[in-house]
């Protein structure tokens, strides 16, 4: 169903393999507090986490546990209230908007639960939205072929199913050849069979492009496809375990 990944990507994968133990992200004592008028919410209360190159981690936890906040901070969408976050040794926690924008533009691919496609643009144009602004992107058609949508490129979001829309979002995220792929509940709005197709795409990108990947989910079954599972609860990491035997996404059931 999916096209094979072309050569340049494999070269990138090989290059990544050399430094597979390199730390991409490092979060130290990260807290995040939201002032919501009369109440304050402590979304993160001192989180320590690192992510290595080519690593596939799953962040698991109930809603409100702080997973999305952590992911947003790692992705440069938000800044911590205290603590530090570094990306390849560069400090993100104190970076200004322009720096974080440049960081997102060049290094991070995002996938959201609700796809967040621009409804007025076709699948190909949604991907082009990214390829137009980054150095050395892959052609939008190629990114869409990787996620198995080579034949749906000229469809508008409203003409695509949920799973297809999410795969467009993934194509959009990987088209810039990011070093990290951050996915926030990518299957949250999907049924099992479409969810599996989406996870297969993510899995494959991690495996074949060597993109460090963090996937947020509240679905424990999804955790078995990761190298490592980090569990959050109430703003704290309560478990961090390796998963030596990965399950293939297509074998998942929930």
């Amino acid at each position: 169903m999916m096209a094979s990944i072309p050569d340049p990507a494999q070269q990138a994968s090989a290059a990544d393999g050399i430094r597979s133990n390199d730390i991409v992200f490092e979060a130290k004592n990260v807290t995040k507090r939201y002032d919501m008028g009369e109440v304050t919410v402590d979304a993160l209360r001192g989180v320590n986490l690192s992510l290595r190159a080519s690593e596939f981690i799953v962040l698991l936890g109930p809603s409100g546990s702080g997973k999305s906040t952590l992911l947003n901070i790692l992705g440069g969408l938000d800044v911590p209230t205290s603590g530090t976050v570094t990306y390849r040794g560069r400090d993100l926690s104190g970076a200004d908007d322009a720096t974080r924008t440049a960081y997102r533009r060049n290094n991070v691919g995002f996938v959201f639960q609700f796809y967040n496609l621009i409804p007025s643009l076709t699948a190909r144009e949604n991907v082009a939205l990214v390829t137009e602004i980054v150095r050395d992107p892959m052609p939008p058609q190629e990114a869409l072929r990787i996620v198995g949508l080579g034949d749906r490129m000229n469809h508008f979001p409203a003409q695509l199913s949920g799973g297809e829309q999410q795969r467009v979002a993934i194509a959009r995220a990987i088209s810039k050849r990011p070093e990290v792929l951050l996915c926030d509940e990518p299957t949250g709005a999907l049924d099992i069979s479409t969810g599996v197709v989406v996870l297969e795409a993510i899995e494959r990108i991690n495996r074949e492009l060597g993109t460090a990947t963090a996937v947020i989910t509240h679905n424990a079954a999804v955790a078995s496809i990761a190298d490592r599972v980090v569990q959050l609860s109430d703003g704290l990491i309560v478990a961090d375990r390796s998963n030596p035997v990965k399950t293939a996404a297509r074998d998942l059931t929930w």
Binding site: A98, N116, L117, I118, E125, L129, V130, I133, R172
Partner: protein
């Protein structure tokens, strides 16, 4: 094309109705700007080129009679490039097909054509031939109005003798771009014409061989006009000079200049109002767009789009709408401007009135369009830029509502649930409600400003022709005659009543300020030509020896009641007197001074003290009366009030109709733009809520009532505000357009307010109904399924 630009075009296409409504408001503003200012440019450049080519004079003087040899001394005044001495007389004309006598201004021109000051342009026919004393070139307006062509003849009474003048040519002169009989307010082409005739012919007819009674000067560039006038006055004083005037005060030039000033003011103020409204509308629509697209904005930011790209993206929205409007407005403005210019052909006579659209004007329109767009987009763009992506990914929290003021006042029980929804909505978004109210109010104000001219002119006409002047006919003698002459006027056939008038040219002086005009001597209780204050409607007191000044004249001279003023009489023995100012009187037009006729007579020291009369006439006897007048050489001219009124209506009524049409159209465009956008935005924001109500069993009528009821309340609130705003804007505009000669009276009759208000309500209802159709098609399932 960049993906972001594609998004822009597709998003705009989706809201095309709203976008177009705003574009149209901008288009109207730009249209006005282009039409007015291009007319300003066209008239000005045409006029300047015409003046230059035909050597229009810089200084004009009239005198009793001076020997031709004085011409050399006038030419010798430093700064004078050319001095043209002329013979100019007003005479009565007998035109075939015109019952009443017309007035002809005979102006001498050289027998052999040469370059003269105020040179005549021949439109048809030929120049006069030397030695043919009865040939005349006549002014184009008069020729057209009376269907006169070269070869026709016109009867004229020259110095007491009736002559048949042969029309050999039809022409125009820069001196008579605006051809109006002195002392009248409306041009009457059929009854006043200029006749250019040979110098010798006129000299012989008026005992002016070897003399002249009029002079025009062309000055060298950079010459001080005041100094030349002073020297000219010195030279002419012994010869009965009336005092020279600069070009600025020359009647035709002055009228054209006033019109130019008027259209420039209108061309700036009115477009600003329209573009202001458009900026508000852009604000409302973009505010909504940014709210709807907050997740898209967050996504773009997450993807790494910079603040600048986001800011530009939303600025382009406004610019695309604005520049579309600017484009439409420029094209339509150029078309309308062309039409407007041809309308000016009815008032101003130029050989060629060429339409000219200055690129600077277009550039100005584009700049204004961009300013409106940027101004309208400002806050929404800032919101989009400041949006925190992490925050925007979460759905917007439910809007905060509270009990409305009406409910807090304890009236809650009186309100149904839908009524509460309406009131809470209006209160929850005070800024947007205010903008909607303001926009509708502005559209009403614009309409009132447009319609006010009709009421204002009506009032002016009413004051002039019904309240102040109650005569049917006004007669002017070629020269003042003995006061007994009033009895011969009374004896003319059909005359019921005759009232004397003595008009004396004077220069009124107070300190450094002075003006030349005629003091009108009237009986102390005039019955026909009455001096009425337009505010109090009471007649001025003419029983004293003092002078009554039109308030505007008092203002020009910086004097008031109780002051005294120096009057230099410009005829006869030229006495100079200090005269007390009895009172001032408010009048719509003119710089006039009135005195008791006996007091003026005492001023003059001579016995020829009747310059004309005001008559009431039995209309049955009019033909007979006109025949008698035509046979009376002493009568230079007559003015029939009914004819003047008719000519006014013919000239203005058609133009006024066109003006009203456009005003209603333009004001409706604003009203429609405001209401339609307000309704569409509400509909978009609340379709979910309204769909939920439908699911719960509310009928279409009921949910329409909620949405449109809100608009209805806002429109009703806007009406009083719009009336006030219209009132304020009208008085501002009358002030801005006030000139030395006239001030449009500030008058709007209640029925006009009512018609304007109903027009705006109509536009509101129409836009409401269009939105209502959308509401009826609301897809319940689709709306409720979508997350927002």
């Amino acid at each position: 094309m960049q993906a972001l630009d594609r998004k822009l075009f597709r998003d705009l296409w989706r809201i095309k109705g709203q976008a177009l409504a705003i574009s149209m408001v901008i288009a109207v503003g730009v249209l006005m700007l282009i039409a007015y200012l291009s007319n300003f440019n066209s008239l000005q450049s045409t006029r300047d080129a015409y003046y230059e080519r035909q050597r229009f004079g810089h200084v004009f003087a009239t005198l009793k009679r001076a020997p031709l040899s004085l011409g050399n001394r006038i030419s010798a005044i430093p700064g004078v490039a050319q001095a043209e001495t002329r013979v100019v007389f007003d005479v009565a004309l007998d035109v075939e097909g015109l019952a009443e006598p017309a007035t002809g201004r005979l102006v001498s021109i050289p027998e052999r054509q040469r370059e003269i000051v105020n040179d005549v342009v021949l439109v048809r026919g030929r120049y006069i031939e030397p030695g043919r004393s009865d040939e005349a070139i006549i002014s184009l307006g008069f020729a057209d109005a009376n269907r006169l062509e070269p070869g026709d003849t016109v009867g004229a009474i020259l110095n007491g003798r009736r002559r048949d003048l042969e029309v050999v040519g039809v022409g125009l002169s820069p001196e008579y771009v605006y051809t109006i009989r002195p002392g009248e307010m409306i041009p009457d082409n059929a009854r006043f014409g200029v006749f250019w005739m040979g110098r010798r012919a006129l000299g012989a007819a008026f005992d002016m061989e070897g003399g002249f009674n009029d002079v025009s000067l062309l000055l060298r560039p950079g010459t001080q006009v005041e100094g030349v006038i002073q020297e000219l006055d010195e030279l002419l004083r012994p010869y009965g000079g009336w005092g020279a005037i600069p070009r600025d005060l020359q009647l035709s030039h002055w009228s054209v200049q006033n019109e130019l000033n008027g259209i420039r003011v209108a061309g700036v103020i009115i477009p600003i109002v329209f573009l202001g409204v458009a900026a508000f509308l852009l604000h409302v629509v973009l505010h909504r767009i940014v709210a709807v697209q907050r997740e898209q904005i967050a996504t773009l930011k997450a993807l790494g789009y910079q603040r600048l790209s986001i800011a530009l993206h939303y600025t382009y929205w406004a610019l695309a709408i604005s520049l579309t409007g600017t484009l439409i407005g420029t094209v339509c403005g150029a078309l309308l401007g062309r039409g407007m210019l041809s309308m000016y052909n009815d008032f101003f006579r130029f050989p060629v009135l060429e339409y000219r659209l200055d690129p600077v004007v277009v550039a100005g329109a584009v700049v204004l369009g961009i300013v409106a767009a940027v101004f309208g987009a400002r806050t929404s763009v800032r919101r989009a830029v400041r949006l925190q992506p992490a925050e925007a990914m979460r759905p917007e929290p439910p809007a905060k509502y509270s009990a409305s003021l009406v409910e807090r006042l304890g009236l809650r029980r009186l309100l149904s649930q839908p009524a509460r929804i309406i009131l809470r909505n209006i209160e929850r978004q005070p800024v947007r409600s205010a903008i909607t109210i303001g926009g509708i109010a502005l559209s009403l104000a614009v309409l009132i400003v447009g319609m006010f001219a009709v009421d204002s002119l009506d009032l002016m006409m009413d004051m002039q022709f019904r309240v102040s002047q109650r005569q049917d006919l006004q007669l002017t003698f070629t020269e003042p005659i003995s006061p007994d002459g009033i009895y011969s006027l009374q004896r003319l056939p059909g005359v019921m009543m005759a009232e004397p008038v003595l008009s004396v040219p004077v220069r009124l002086r107070s300190g450094q300020r002075s003006r030349q005009l005629s003091i009108m001597g009237l009986p102390h209780l005039p019955q026909l030509f009455r001096v009425i204050d337009v505010e109090t409607l009471s007649p001025a007191d003419l029983s004293h020896d003092g002078v009554v000044l039109a308030e505007r004249l008092a203002h020009v001279l910086d004097v008031g009641p109780g002051d005294s003023i120096t009057a230099e009489v410009l005829i006869g023995s030229r006495p100079v007197r200090e005269i007390a100012i009895t009172s001032t009187v408010r009048q719509h037009m003119g710089l006039a001074a009135y005195m008791n006729i006996d007091a003026v007579r005492r001023l003059l020291h001579h016995d020829k003290t009747l310059s004309g009369g005001y008559l009431t006439v039995d209309s049955q006897a009019l033909p007979e009366l006109f025949r008698a007048i035509k046979e009376t050489p002493a009568i230079a001219g007559s003015g029939l009030k009914a004819a003047a009124l008719k000519s006014f209506q013919e000239t203005f009524a058609a133009n006024l109709g066109i003006m009203i049409f456009f005003n209603v159209l333009f004001a409706s465009i604003i009203a429609f733009g405001v209401v339609y956008n307000a309704a569409r935005v509400s509909l978009a924001e609340r379709s979910r809520e309204l769909a939920s109500l439908r699911v719960m069993g509310f009928t279409r009528q009921e949910i329409s009532a909620i949405l449109l009821g809100e608009l209805g309340i806002l429109a009703l609130l806007a009406l009083p505000l719009g009336l006030l705003l219209g009132y304020a804007l009208t008085s501002l505009l009358t002030k801005a357009m006030e000139t030395e000669l006239y001030a449009l009276p500030f008058s709007v009759v209640p029925s006009t307010y009512a018609v304007c208000a109903l027009t705006i309500l109509g536009a509101t209802v129409v836009s409401g109904l269009i939105v209502r159709r959308k509401l009826d098609r609301l897809d319940l399932l689709e709306v409720l399924k979508a997350k927002e």
